[in-house]
Symmetry: C2
């Protein structure tokens, strides 16, 4: 398995097939002097910005994911491995993985971030985060099952608890989730139930800070808040969740009963960052130099959500797709510069602005001093997301079809899929893994 | 919860939202004298004839499934419950369910069939069947993971085992699965790997009887067999599987090493059929009278794969979608006849022929004495399936988009999705449920 670094070919190992890793690999497609190995624990690249749409049954997992292997299929200098990286030997220049050791001349660490429960990881089973397709499907299962169970219930107290949805975290993801639940209950599901009134669903967005969407101006954040309220979502600011259990959350002295709690609060770098003895910032991200390499390790780069780059603005760049894409491309250029004997360049992030969507016809956009809210902002959001999604899906017709279903309020993926695929089970085997909270109707399957 | 049968309204309870149940409910949309309750353990109706396409990564689960609730949303006399039926009290006329008791004047039992392992249910974990979306996703995970694991392997013996796929059962489903694996390995995946040659994948279709596709003529079955062989699949007839384990199957004295075994052999009626004390045939199906009611229980009907109707041809009608759809509509008509004081009619199945597909441009069609194989047969197959799928998906654009990806060899849903959505787990909780065989790279997640 270990490959010998051949004559002039240099080995580049990329850990992670997200925006940074894929963009770096693609930028090096025409570099015959490099042999690239991209390793990822998942077999697919994920278009994260639309992941909330999978959680909210608007899109199918395959609509926003593509096999990494297929994306890099025609790139002859690149091979793809589905595997888990367990460590890096910085001295021997070896990536250790469950697919064997991978020797490298250059290393790009780009395995992203996950949600942080601030040391309370036991909350995860009661409040899933939204970083992977598996989590998105789990959230979809929980939200749809809550409506189904409420329809079967005859206990008004239980129905109320089932029709209360709590989203923790007032960043873009939390806002998107809260808005989408509001929309689903008010439009998509409105006529489908007989006993319950989906429109009466209560959505509470809990934010520990003084306001939601702190990366936007006060004006835009206020607009987003009004939009959320029109969709039936209440926003609690300065509200800190002090505990989470299977039936709700505690917010200081206040108890909020809910069967469905979603977690969109803190983010922490993937665990690999801590295992390497490299310089980290407070969020566990790898601190990088102006050229995106790690201090003292010029052959090791970090990009995307796992990297902390603060040379441009004094504070680390945000963990968003454009930063990861641009960083991936810059890292590729700097490796090429090395190969060609040219000096490296400093990374300079070109901020094209930021946007968040609250629901159909409701979005906010900020590009420098230009600010826009409402329908036009939403169209801009839609066009940009379709444009980038087409870029890697390469299937314009598919993109049109989901854009259509998105435009028409149709949620095409309202599936409750069970966790267990087996039909024949002993009663003991039917039980969920220990400690797991199973929504009633799913568990009874 | 229990509802009192009001004045003139008659209660119809439909157990199962498959082709029979949905067609019965829809045919009664304009009957103000009926109150219909449809209960299903899943929240979705499934277009079973294309389920193998989900297993083979050609389609997404949501492409061939629709929420039962949404399908019947505008039908005011019908409510939908997601729940599990635990029994039927024939005397009290109550369906017992985990959503409470459901009183009925008329009952339609239409909860289908599942695979039979001929008393060896322990084989299921090594050889999943294909009846539900969960099973289709599990098969997709296993097949794609086998290729990924083979690419990482350096042991030729292990690679061979990983690239050997066994399908048990030579009916239409087995033929479709074997053909689709052949196509995937020869076309879709051909250029995506560096170490393995997906084209070299070996596919073995095992049939206990003397030939595959016994419902077709010798000529058509022979043609299907040649088509399969062109796609790299070998057909073993008169071959009986005597044991299945995690690493292969035993076929009499012969051992076939394979990490991926799929089960498309026998079918048995859903367990509810046995719980009611009604007359059953040898496959456990409920024997129905000419009017599709159960002997001695004129108010109880059975339709679809759980019913055994042999008045027309002497042998039970096959468990296919057209039989279920027509039976569902006939049952609706007979209930209406009762309500209107007219005599019931006998069911007469109109056989529009049968078809099976082996792969792109490869299908067989038989309508009475008319027989066709090859490209034209495949176009007929495609048109008919698109037509019926459009019927319930109601989204022509979506259907076009998947037809497009189907025509272009693009398998848009090549996702390996893990079973566990959680990021933070104790090592003990990370273990798979007891007795479960987890493909290596998935288990290592």
């Amino acid at each position: 398995m270990p490959q010998v670094t051949s004559g002039k070919k240099r080995q580049l190992v990329i850990v992670g097939g997200g925006f940074a890793g894929i963009n770096a690999a693609r930028s090096l497609a025409k570099s015959p002097d490099l042999e690239i190995t991209l390793i990822d624990r998942q077999n697919h690249h994920l278009f994260q910005p639309l992941l909330y749409q999978v959680a909210m049954a608007g899109l199918s997992p395959a609509d926003i994911a593509a096999p990494i292997r297929a994306m890099l299929s025609s790139q002859k200098n690149c091979r793809v491995i589905q595997g888990e990286v367990t460590g890096v030997d910085l001295v021997q220049k070896l990536v250790q993985s469950d697919a064997g050791p991978l020797p490298f001349d250059y290393l790009l660490i780009a395995c992203g971030a996950r949600h942080s429960y601030f040391g309370r990881e036991e909350w995860e089973e009661f409040a899933p985060g939204l970083k992977t397709l598996e989590q998105a499907t789990e959230i979809r299962r929980r939200v749809l099952t809550a409506f189904e169970t409420a329809e079967r219930s005859t206990d008004p107290e239980e129905q109320r608890r089932l029709l209360t949805f709590v989203v923790v975290g007032g960043g873009p993801t939390g806002v998107e989730l809260a808005g989408a639940i509001g929309e689903m209950s008010r439009f998509t599901l409105a006529k489908d139930f007989r006993r319950i009134e989906p429109r009466s669903a209560r959505i509470v967005l809990i934010e520990a800070g003084p306001r939601i969407l702190p990366m936007f101006s006060e004006t835009l954040a206020a607009r987003a808040m009004r939009d959320l309220e029109q969709l039936g979502a209440q926003v609690w600011t300065n509200a800190k969740v002090t505990s989470v259990d299977a039936h709700g959350v505690q917010v200081g002295a206040e108890r909020l009963n809910s069967e469905t709690v979603l977690w969109a609060a803190g983010v922490v770098a993937a665990p690999l960052s801590r295992a390497l003895g490299l310089p980290l910032d407070r969020a566990g991200r790898i601190v990088v130099e102006p050229d995106l390499s790690v201090a003292g390790h010029p052959n090791i780069f970090a990009g995307g959500d796992i990297a902390s780059f603060s040379h441009q603005t004094g504070t680390p760049l945000p963990g968003v797709a454009p930063v990861a894409m641009q960083a991936g491309r810059q890292i590729a250029r700097n490796i090429l510069n090395d190969v060609e004997g040219k000096p490296r360049e400093s990374f300079r992030y070109v901020d094209k602005g930021q946007m968040a969507t609250i629901g159909r016809s409701r979005a906010i956009v900020a590009v420098g001093r230009f600010e826009k809210a409402g329908f036009l902002a939403w169209v801009m959001w839609l066009v940009i997301h379709i444009y980038y999604l087409t870029g890697f899906k390469n299937r314009i017709l598919v993109v049109i079809s989901w854009a259509w279903s998105y435009l028409t309020f149709n949620r095409g993926a309202r599936l409750i899929v069970r966790r267990d695929w087996r039909m024949f089970r002993k009663p003991s085997a039917a039980a969920a893994p220990s400690g797991e909270s199973v929504p009633p109707s799913t568990g009874a399957a």
